[in-house]
């Protein structure tokens, strides 16, 4: 192999410098915009706010006997104050959203168990969560810094390397600046602003067994491990879901069920509760806001055996 003339080599060096400089600048700019956007809550305003809102509850609560962790199907269905009075135990609802997925539920359980000793933790998620293939972002954006020490920087870079996110940040800044969002929470969760009409045919958007994401189940497994480590009773309940899916997604639910059962978490019988179309809120797994109380009562009945058992176990101890 012969060496090339030095003039060729120096022009190649110039080429590489130009390429490296421009590429480096673009990558840095993109990552800076998205990282800043996430930090300031400009990407998913509601997601950002709900995390802070629920996290604050852990700091202010004196005693927590029963805790719910999960997604928006939980946030819209369980009224913690009512549940406390029904159970006679201090209950807290730490619901995040489906974007956080099982990773977010794990982190809320993790934070809860740092400072509290609940008798029962109910993991409650929509069946839809299990089809979300990307579970890591939900974990990352709700984790404590100490939990991320062993995380690969490349995985983190992947999260921030999104033109779509950067565009959302710029749009958000352009439209609203850094202004605080208007009243976001109603009745202890993100306010619903629309009503969802399900399509006549669910066939175009079916839930199939091959859609179940192992990454989501892995975090459920981590929740089960956490519960065992802290000797806390934990159960898994499906959030309410549009009744069209209750029949369409039976095979999918069976697959989820076997995955959850393998983690050791018992699944609450009678869930998911099927929502008739008339009772739907702004999406397939949100109940109408005025029905939150009624669904709280229904879930209380389903959870009663676990509540009684956890109380009994505590008395024996």
């Amino acid at each position: 192999m012969t060496s090339l003339p030095s003039s060729t080599s120096s022009s190649e060096l110039r080429y590489l410098k130009a390429l490296g400089f421009v590429l480096g600048a673009l990558v840095t700019l993109l990552v800076t915009i998205t990282a800043t956007g996430y930090r300031l809550g400009l990407v998913e305003v509601a997601n950002h706010e709900i995390y802070g809102y629920q996290r604050d509850k852990l700091g202010t609560a004196r005693t927590i006997d029963i805790a719910f962790v999960g997604d928006s199907s939980l946030g819209n269905a369980i009224d913690a104050a009512l549940f406390s009075s029904l159970a006679g135990r201090d209950t807290v609802n730490l619901a995040l959203t489906g974007s956080y997925g099982s990773g977010g539920a794990y982190n809320m359980a993790y934070k809860l168990l740092q400072d509290h000793t609940p008798r029962l933790i109910v993991v409650m998620q929509s069946i839809d969560v299990m089809r979300r293939k990307e579970a890591f972002p939900g974990f990352y954006f709700s984790a404590e810094p100490s939990q991320l020490l062993t995380t690969s920087p490349i995985r983190i870079l992947e999260l921030y390397f999104s033109l779509k996110t950067a565009r959302r940040v710029v749009e958000q800044l352009w439209k609203h600046g850094l202004a605080e969002p208007a009243e976001l929470f109603v009745n202890d969760y993100i306010a619903q602003t629309s009503v969802y009409s399900p399509p006549a045919e669910l066939g175009m958007d079916p839930l199939l067994p091959n859609m179940v994401a192992q990454a989501q189940l892995d975090y459920v497994g981590q929740i089960a491990d956490l519960c065992r480590q802290h000797d806390t009773e934990c159960v898994y309940a499906y959030g309410p879901i549009y009744d069209g899916y209750c029949t369409q997604a039976m095979e999918y639910v069976a697959k989820v069920e076997s995955g959850v059962a393998a983690t050791g978490l018992p699944i609450v019988a009678g869930t998911p509760l099927c929502i008739p179309e008339i009772e739907l809120g702004d999406t397939v797994d949100h109940v109408r806001p005025d029905l939150k109380e009624s669904y709280t009562r229904r879930y209380f009945e389903l959870l009663r055996p676990y509540i009684d058992r956890s109380v009994a176990t505590r008395i024996v101890q």
């Binding site: 192999m1 120096s10 060096l13 130009a18 421009v22 990558v27």
Partner: protein, 496 residues
């Protein structure tokens, strides 16, 4: 590990390059090779560490068999045919077990209704490629065409990560001296050309192939589910797939060539504008060149090639292409694809030899179009999930599912967009120079003897130059590709 992934681009490659440069600058030749082998192990183990052991055992067996064959060939002038056969059986048995065991048992089962229950065997990544590479090595050793070498050289020849998983299928003689050269081209040259070719390959994959994949995937998935496409949709779907597979695999080959050049190694050119071919024979001189030349040198010629009369030549062509088809996958559809290409090669040969064909040469544009359509039609068998799906698509293509221009429902979500993209893709593959033509004098890949289109001169209009403007353009291209990396998808040829 995928070339088009964050871990590869932002961690594996920079670390490997850094280590290589440190060792190279200190003149540590052997350590440099060991470093590249270690990096290749990490690259392979990222997919499955379990199969790394299999790869290693296979390397050891082939090294010692090859060395014995070389020694005998040098000392006696002729090597041991029996030892060669043992070596070939070893390699082909591994391939046969991992790739074809399930296929044969399933067919045996279907034929005799025996209900044999065996677990699905996982196919080790790249086994089809490195098996052929080692087969070529043993045959070359037997033919006394292999120079004496150390184990480290052989291990690096097999494991060198740019070509480990999906080729190009490299011959030992092509690369071994390059691994051992004392002086490599200047780093600026290697990285400027290497990064440029890699960027072009990455763009072909993530910007072009993956875009066609959306439409082609929707089309084939629906067809596999029993959907019967109309004529227009079938042609749009097949056009998208024909372009997808070209940009996907040639993109991978470009990336492999670019990566290898960063380490001072030139790999053989694997694609030379195959859709510009004016005959099916020329197509196979331009498409997957390193497989084509393997089939020519290690299957077709040993079978007798064209030396035993026209009938035998036709049989040899068919046999070679059937083996080529079977190499691509354990399914009747791909065997059929191989048979179609064998038949087309035979027909082309007969046409050329006939007095009619000799008198009436087709106009180049017509010849290119006819060749392209034949290739497209054969790809139906290549991609279809099963024979039933394949027949459904052929019915669509030939108008048996209706010839109306517009349908009420489409499997392809945006048929007009897909059609426009297909036409644009066709214009690109027919009208634009390929990667090596673009790079011209920079010459990133090796030409293959007997494959004229792989000998490249600088293109007149499109020439890459290492200047600031091109640096800016390629920075933008790479950045656009990086942004798309979050939609990471594997390469089609990984499954082979």
């Amino acid at each position: 590990m995928l070339f088009n992934s964050f871990p590869f681009i932002f961690a594996f490659l920079p670390i490997t390059v850094l280590g290589y440069e440190l060792l190279r600058r200190r003149g540590l030749q052997r350590a440099k090779k060991i470093w590249l082998i270690a990096a290749s192990c990490v690259f392979y183990a990222y997919w499955s560490a379990a199969f790394l052991g299999l790869l290693f055992v296979s390397i050891v067996v082939n090294f010692f068999v090859g060395r014995r064959l070389q020694t005998l060939a040098r000392e006696r002038g002729t090597s041991s045919r029996r030892l060669l056969i043992i070596g070939l059986i070893w390699n082909l048995s591994l391939l046969g077990y991992f790739k074809y065991a399930n296929f044969f048992i399933d067919n045996f089962d279907a034929a005799f209704g025996l209900h044999i229950e065996i677990a699905r065997i996982v196919l080790p990544l790249g086994i089809s490629f490195f098996t052929f590479q080692k087969v070529a090595f043993l045959v070359d050793s037997y033919r006394n065409k292999v120079e004496p070498h150390a184990f480290v050289d052989f291990a690096l020849f097999v494991m060198f990560f740019p070509q480990l998983i999906a080729g190009p299928i490299v011959h030992f003689g092509e690369v071994i001296r390059q691994f051992s050269q004392e002086t490599t081209p200047p780093a600026a040259n290697r990285y400027a050309i290497g990064v440029t070719v890699f960027a072009m390959g990455l763009a072909k994959k993530v910007l072009v192939a993956d875009t066609f994949a959306i439409h082609a995937g929707a089309f084939f998935d629906a067809a596999a589910g029993g959907y019967t496409p109309g004529m227009l949709e079938a042609w749009i779907g097949m056009l998208c797939y024909t372009l997808q597979i070209y940009f996907d695999f040639s993109g991978y080959s470009d990336m492999a060539i670019g990566l290898a050049w960063m380490f001072g190694v030139k790999l053989p050119i694997n694609f030379a504008s195959p859709y510009k071919a004016q005959s099916i024979a020329e197509y196979w001189q331009r498409w997957h060149v390193t497989l084509s030349r393997f089939l020519r040198d290690y299957v077709y010629i040993p079978l007798g090639g064209n030396r035993r009369g026209p009938t035998r030549q036709n049989v040899n062509l068919m046999t070679t292409m059937l083996i080529g088809g079977l190499w691509h996958g354990a399914a009747w559809t791909v065997v059929l694809w191989g048979a179609m290409h064998g038949a087309m090669l035979v027909i082309h040969r007969l046409w050329e030899q006939s007095s009619f064909g000799a008198r009436r040469a087709m106009r180049p544009m017509l010849a290119t179009t006819v060749t392209f359509v034949c290739v497209l039609l054969a790809f139906v068998a290549f991609r279809a999930a099963d024979l039933e799906t394949m027949m459904g698509i052929y019915r669509g293509l030939f108008g048996f599912n209706g010839t109306s221009f517009w349908q009420a429902t489409w499997a392809i979500e945006k048929p007009l967009v897909a059609a426009a993209l297909g036409i644009a893709g066709l214009v690109a593959v027919w009208g634009l120079p390929n990667t090596q033509e673009w790079l011209g004098a920079a010459s990133p890949g090796l030409a293959s003897p007997g494959y004229p289109a792989t000998y490249v001169a600088a293109h007149e209009r499109f020439v890459w130059r290492p200047d600031g403007r091109h640096g800016l353009a390629f920075a933008l291209l790479l950045f656009t590709c990086f942004v798309k990396l979050n939609d990471v998808s594997p390469f089609i040829y990984f499954q082979f």
